[in-house]
């Protein structure tokens, strides 16, 4: 066990830090969930990242990456968040679809999609959930009917994040008449294809984080199916593993939030009881515990291990930690907590918005109730109901 960075890792950190200092926009970009302009500003940032070959650092060089190991990925993420670089508009693509495609995609698919994904040329939305299929994803009803070398897609998708402005989506579709986990395929489709209608869904803060997608006889080449026909469930579960576990949630995100919370407390502590320091310290400890756990998992994976149902513990931990941290911030703000910008004044952190986002943590990426079932059944061996 060696909890010190190597000189090479330190040098890598310095390289990332220098690039971020020279390139990260000085102020926050406009939201990518409100206007096309905001969305395109983020696409420009993805392109700039890609020019520096920082688009997806763990990917093979052939697809625009740097083939870095997970420890260097963590260092990259630490510097990314430390520099307050913009949230990745393409996270559905680079963190979920990308790794899945690396595992299940054909050479042709990898060459066609991955470099454009890393470069921000294609921004991806996910199209998994349906009105009748959330946690019970096997209840998907949307169909893919084979027609020679094409599929005809029909049905309705919902909670498709980024789908309001994104270029492409990936979704689960079933062979007509098939049931449950059988007969499903993971299919990639352009969101501007004839027959696709998008209806933005406003989140409670007014942002169009999600869209409903209505698919009416959308024609897609069979070559745009990821994985084997009828094997969509298997492919999709691999993606869910990436989503719940290591890949989606960098520890750095919470460590930065904890540092911001410390600053907020520091600036307000004269009007607060000393006991508040304990809650602030708890948030910092939790963020550091999460980072240590991810480093330990990364070390294990780098040595050839694999991630199993313990990724469900990650998901529960970060989602609950995130809510507690932001709740503490709102408690510190006190009677100002309910104020939305611009009435809150110019603060570096919009605690209210981040709190509202944190509330979704236990819901998305597999609800925490489902994660607890996974821990109980697959990790601890308790019987199924």
């Amino acid at each position: 066990m060696k909890l010190e960075y190597t000189p090479e890792q330190d040098a890598f950190r310095a390289e990332v830090r220098a690039w971020m200092e020279a390139n990260v926009p000085s102020g926050p970009l406009p939201s990518f969930d409100l206007t096309r302009e905001g969305f395109e500003a983020h696409r420009d940032w993805e392109r700039k990242l890609s020019e520096g070959r920082w688009g997806m650092v763990t990917w093979p060089e052939a697809y625009g990456g740097r083939a870095l190991d997970l420890i260097r990925w963590l260092i990259f993420e630490e510097e990314y968040y430390r520099a307050k670089a913009p949230t990745r508009v393409n996270q559905n693509g680079i963190f979920l679809l990308g790794p899945t495609m690396m595992e299940f995609g054909t050479e042709d698919q990898k060459a066609r999609f991955l470099p454009r994904m890393a470069a921000g040329d294609d921004i991806w939305a996910q199209a998994w959930s349906e009105p009748g299929a959330g946690s019970d994803l096997a209840g998907v009803r949307a169909t893919a009917t084979r027609d020679g070398d094409h599929y005809i897609l029909n049905g309705q998708k919902t909670w498709s994040s980024r789908a309001v402005f994104a270029d492409w989506a990936f979704g689960l579709f079933r062979e007509p008449g098939s049931e449950r986990h059988k007969g499903m395929s993971l299919i990639l489709f352009p969101l501007d294809a004839p027959g696709v209608t998008r209806r933005p869904i406003q989140r409670m803060d007014g942002k169009m984080v999600f869209a409903e997608l209505f698919l009416d006889n959308v024609r897609v080449p069979v070559a745009d199916r990821l994985g084997d026909e009828g094997q969509g469930w298997h492919v999709c579960m691999a993606t869910a593993g990436f989503e719940r576990g290591l890949m989606l949630r960098s520890p750095a995100r919470y460590q930065v939030a904890a540092s911001n919370l410390l600053t907020l407390y520091e600036n307000n502590k004269n009007s607060l009881p000393a006991s508040v320091a304990e809650r602030v310290a708890q948030s910092w400890m939790d963020a550091d515990a999460y980072a240590l756990s991810i480093y330990s998992t990364a070390s294990r994976l780098t040595a050839g291990g694999s991630i199993g149902p313990e990724s469900s513990t990650n998901k529960i931990f970060w989602s609950e930690m995130d809510i507690a941290l932001h709740q503490t911030a709102l408690d510190i703000l006190g009677d100002r907590a309910e104020l939305a910008p611009p009435d809150l004044g110019t603060t570096a952190v919009d605690w209210l918005e981040d709190y509202i986002f944190a509330l979704a943590g236990p819901i998305y990426a597999g609800s925490n109730e489902i994660q607890r079932n996974i821990i109980a059944e697959r990790m601890l061996g308790l019987p199924r109901a």
Partner: protein, 343 residues
């Protein structure tokens, strides 16, 4: 950067764990309890023969001169079995303390051979293992005194955990008994290895709860098939999962002896104590009324957890250390490891 145990560490820990699990079953604990004893000579000999007590001792004293991180998994295993004998205390706390003295008066070798030295650190007014000790290290102001058994008188203080033999110690300091004036990292080692035991205790409570929930039926089904029970146990497991790496990091970073490494130990003690508390209380809940009895095994682990949460510094003490670290040292994603934080 490598946050994983190496093969030697895993092999040694596995061997120790297997021995402890085989020789210290709940049935073994019950036999001791019936005899009102807290010591099994055969088990202690097995522990000693394996060289576990000597792990952190200097080579010239016959030790292996290993680091705290080499012992942390074994301390976890000792917690897992609810070990009554003071392996963790002797190997993790007493031996390094004796090694830090200018003159240990021959006690390191005697401890490695199986004798016991009890420590009266100011953090713990009640001295554990005093009735089996051949000598004591006791505080007098800032001074440390090494006192032989016949120079003290002991008064038993009953712990909730009958395997924890606590005593108040009456003694008189003299120039002859004084051996030092610096506890060094003793308090950190005490908190660290106690935290490691708490992780083991918590995991054992969960494993007991899982086994019981598979076996016990209500309304015609095992209670472990009910989501309400599953979620209780899963929540406790999450808490353990995110305390364990903190304890392991604290062990690896302890030799740095910086403020950040001390704060990590404090964090480890808080996190492990909270996790073991939730896990043992959850186990009692899963056992239902049986969990409140001495007939179910869970009480051994609940009571040890109760005791160890308050040994080597309370959560209040350790939180104060963490808060001071936050007030005086930088935080952020590039400051995860104590080696990065300014001393």
């Amino acid at each position: 950067m490598q946050f994983a145990f190496d093969e030697d560490q895993l092999a040694m820990t596995d061997a120790a764990r297997v021995m402890l699990v085989e020789t210290c079953t709940p049935a073994d604990l019950r036999h001791l309890l019936e005899r009102n004893e807290a010591w099994d000579e055969a088990r202690w000999n097995a522990i000693r023969d394996m060289g576990l007590v000597a792990m952190l001792a200097p080579e010239d004293a016959g030790g292996l001169e290993l680091a705290p991180v080499d012992l942390v998994g074994i301390a976890e295993a000792a917690g897992y079995v609810g070990l009554p004998e003071p392996l963790v205390e002797q190997a993790g706390i007493v031996v390094p303390l004796l090694a830090s003295l200018a003159d240990d008066r021959g006690w390191i070798e005697r401890v490695i051979r199986g004798e016991v030295v009890a420590v009266g650190h100011p953090a713990n007014p009640f001295v554990a293992d005093a009735d089996t000790a051949g000598a004591f290290i006791l505080p007098h102001g800032a001074e440390l005194h090494l006192v032989e058994r016949e120079q003290v008188s002991l008064t038993l203080r009953h712990s909730v955990d009958t395997f924890r033999r606590l005593f108040t110690v009456d003694w008189s300091p003299s120039p002859e008994t004084m051996v030092g004036s610096d506890w060094g990292q003793t308090a950190d080692r005490g908190a660290l290895f106690t935290a490691a035991q708490l992780i083991g205790l918590g995991q054992r409570a969960i494993d007991l709860a899982v086994a019981y929930a598979k076996d016990r039926t209500q309304f015609g089904k095992p209670i472990g098939s009910y989501q309400a029970v599953k979620h209780l146990i899963a929540s406790a497991q999450v808490k353990i999962e995110f305390a364990r790496p903190v304890v392991h990091a604290a062990a690896a970073e302890l030799p740095l002896d910086t403020f950040a490494s001390r704060a990590r130990v404090a964090h480890a003690k808080i996190a492990a104590g909270d996790a073991a508390d939730l896990a043992t209380r959850t186990a009692v809940q899963v056992y239902g009324a049986m969990g409140m009895t001495r007939e179910a095994d869970v009480h051994f682990f609940l009571k040890r957890t109760l005791a160890l949460r308050y040994a080597w510094g309370t959560a209040f003490d350790h939180r104060a250390t963490v808060i001071e670290r936050l007030n005086t040292r930088p935080t952020g994603p590039d400051m995860t490891f104590a080696s990065r934080v300014p001393a």
